[in-house]
């Protein structure tokens, strides 16, 4: 069962840092949102392999939206 990585703030996707297949550690940034005049990283809640990225650079995501899947 893949874990859904969710945005914890509404914002625009500024940078996607990981791609499907990448191995990440807990706390690694998967992508960066731009919100409230700040670059706010969305971090992996645990170590794993990124199986999908659900957001594109420049796209607006809402708080609670799934932006990536982690195996």
């Amino acid at each position: 069962m893949p874990e859904e990585v969710k945005a914890h703030i509404t914002g625009v996707v500024f940078q996607v840092l990981a791609k499907p297949g990448d191995t990440v550690g807990a706390g690694d940034a998967i992508l960066v949102l731009e919100s409230m005049k700040m670059e706010i990283p969305v971090e992996a809640p645990r170590a794993g392999t990124v199986s999908a990225i659900k957001a594109k650079e420049g796209e607006t995501v809402q708080e609670g939206d799934t932006v990536a899947l982690l195996e």
Binding site: H8, I9, T10, E34, S35, M36, K37, M38, E39, I40, P41, E63
Partner: protein, 516 residues
């Protein structure tokens, strides 16, 4: 009996009471990883300083169910002793005696301990390890005479420091005691609190849940925000109570004690030049800034696992206790939301009640906006912070480290909120809103009418950005100075020293109407 026999009888009675709930119950207490109530008190108080009150008390014998039962000290140890040389009153429930339930006699003792703390103006400490009300004694409408403890605790609030350590269960009655206290540490794994414990929850709403999931330390330290600190075990719990109280005066009539430090007051810190990234949009760890400016790098953080976008805690600067509020750019970019506003307002009230000066470290892009936070009531929650910072009459010092936007600047003790000194680092950005947002609103028509709207917007944004330069604020004397970040510690210490004699009169009122 002659005197000798009488004394022997007295000693035997005392010995019996000190055995608590007996060897078997004590072994079970230890097997769960908990210390006995008397072991806890030995750790809490300076050697030989504890005087017990009510050791010979036993249950009130008001119910047929209780007939023939023994309840040493009636399940709660009360008294007074010294912590690092300073007196405190204690109420410590004994789980080995009828699960630490609150009996009629036990509550008479607790009443006495509370009254002792209030009338002598010394801190009140509760160690909770209790199943709650002793139903065997309380069932039926005699309940009508109970509940006074919460009224008394409310009246004591802000007069003497109140600490409630959760060192076992606390259900119903024993869950409102921490709710009304100032500081609530919780022992990981063994403590939990809930208005209704799992059996009641099952009976009333049909939910199957473990005590840990319902009200364990993780729930209250990371999600509900009811507790302040998760600690590993009983020993660590007692230690944090002592550490916490060391920052406080005995009551609101006194100043916090001075604790000399070997850390020089005029220490300049080179590291402070490297902590804030060159890009104003990048996050950094504000806790490092705190560690580099306080005495010996020691910071006693409260609620570290909850509302992490705002850091609050106690430290000393030049030996003087100081309450620090700092935005944390690492979480939500440092933007304020409902829980961080709650956390801040409560902490400001705590420090103001006990004459502890406040230091604000600002890096706040503003309050979160959008439909979600409006539905949560961000307006009234944000107003709590305005209210608390306005009411506070203790010395206040503000350092604008970087962002100071909109109402975020106000609630973090901007110029209008009576800081005794307000200074900025050269990285400061002070403005009602950011250049992008501001430009879009003010120059909407001009941008739309321009031959190349994107270029026009970029040009306007750059012009706007020049205005949020802190030298504009310093030039108008709206802030007191712009400082070299390395000087932060000496500047703050000198300001705290200057503000020691601060006296502000407020108009008389019974109390305000706080936006809760």
């Amino acid at each position: 009996m002659g005197m000798k026999e009488l004394v022997e009888d007295l000693r035997a009675r005392r010995r019996k009471a000190l055995e608590m709930g007996g060897a078997e119950a004590l072994a079970k207490q230890h097997a769960e990883g908990k210390l006995s109530v008397r072991e806890r008190l030995d750790l809490l108080f300076d050697g030989g300083s504890f005087t017990e009150i009510g050791v010979l008390a036993t249950h009130a014998n008001i119910s047929p169910i209780m007939r023939g039962r023994e309840t040493p000290a009636d399940g709660v140890v009360t008294g007074f002793g010294k912590i690092n040389g300073r007196l405190a009153s204690v109420i410590a429930y004994d789980f080995t005696v009828m699960a630490g339930s609150m009996g009629r006699t036990g509550e008479v003792k607790c009443n006495r301990a509370r009254e002792l703390a209030l009338s002598k103006r010394i801190p009140m400490i509760w160690l909770i390890d209790s199943a709650g009300a002793r139903i065997q004694e309380a069932i039926g409408s005699t309940f009508a005479q109970s509940g006074f403890l919460f009224r008394e605790e409310s009246i004591m609030s802000g007069v003497v420091p109140m600490v409630v350590a959760m060192m076992g269960p606390g259900a119903a009655g024993t869950a409102y005691i921490p709710a009304l206290a100032d500081f609530v540490p919780m022992v990981k794994g063994t403590s939990h609190m809930a208005l209704g414990g799992p059996p009641l929850v099952k009976a009333v709403v049909g939910e199957d849940i473990t005590p840990e999931e319902l009200g364990g330390s993780k729930i209250h330290c990371e999600i509900s925000g009811v507790a302040d600190l998760e600690v590993a075990d009983d020993k660590a719990c007692i230690q944090v109570i002592k550490d916490y109280l060391s920052y406080f005066p005995q009551s609101n009539l006194e100043r916090p004690p001075l604790v000399a430090s070997e850390d020089p007051e005029d220490r300049m810190d080179e590291e402070l030049l490297t902590l804030v990234p060159d890009s104003p949009r990048r996050a950094y760890d504000m806790k490092k800034v705190i560690h580099h400016i306080v005495d010996g790098g020691r910071f006693f953080e409260l609620k570290p696992g909850w509302a992490k976008n705002l850091i609050v805690g106690l430290a000393r600067m030049g030996g003087q206790s100081v309450g620090i509020l700092a935005n944390q750019p690492m979480v939500l970019g440092g933007a304020l939301d409902i829980n961080s506003a709650d956390k801040a307002a409560r902490f400001i009230m705590l420090c103001d009640a006990f004459n502890i000066p406040l230091l604000f470290l600002q890096d706040v892009p503003g309050f979160l906006v959008g439909s979600k936070v409006e539905k949560e009531g961000i307006i009234r929650h944000g107003a709590k912070m305005l209210y608390a910072v306005s009411e506070a009459t203790v010395p206040k010092v503000t350092v604008v480290v970087r962002k100071a936007y909109g109402a975020g600047y106000f609630v973090m003790c901007g110029k209008a909120y009576e800081p005794d000194l307000i200074v900025a680092w050269p990285t400061a950005e002070i403005s009602v809103m950011g250049p992008e947002g501001g430009t879009n609103i003010i120059f909407r028509k001009e941008i739309a009418a321009a031959p190349s709207p994107d270029e026009e917007r970029a040009r306007r944004v750059e012009e706007f950005r020049k205005l949020i330069n802190p030298y504009v604020a310093a030039g108008g004397a709206f802030i007191d100075d712009i400082i070299d970040p390395r000087e932060t510690r000496p500047v703050v210490i000198r300001a705290l020293e200057m503000a020691q004699t601060k006296k502000i009169e407020r108009p008389w009122k019974k109390h305000g109407v706080m936006p809760v």
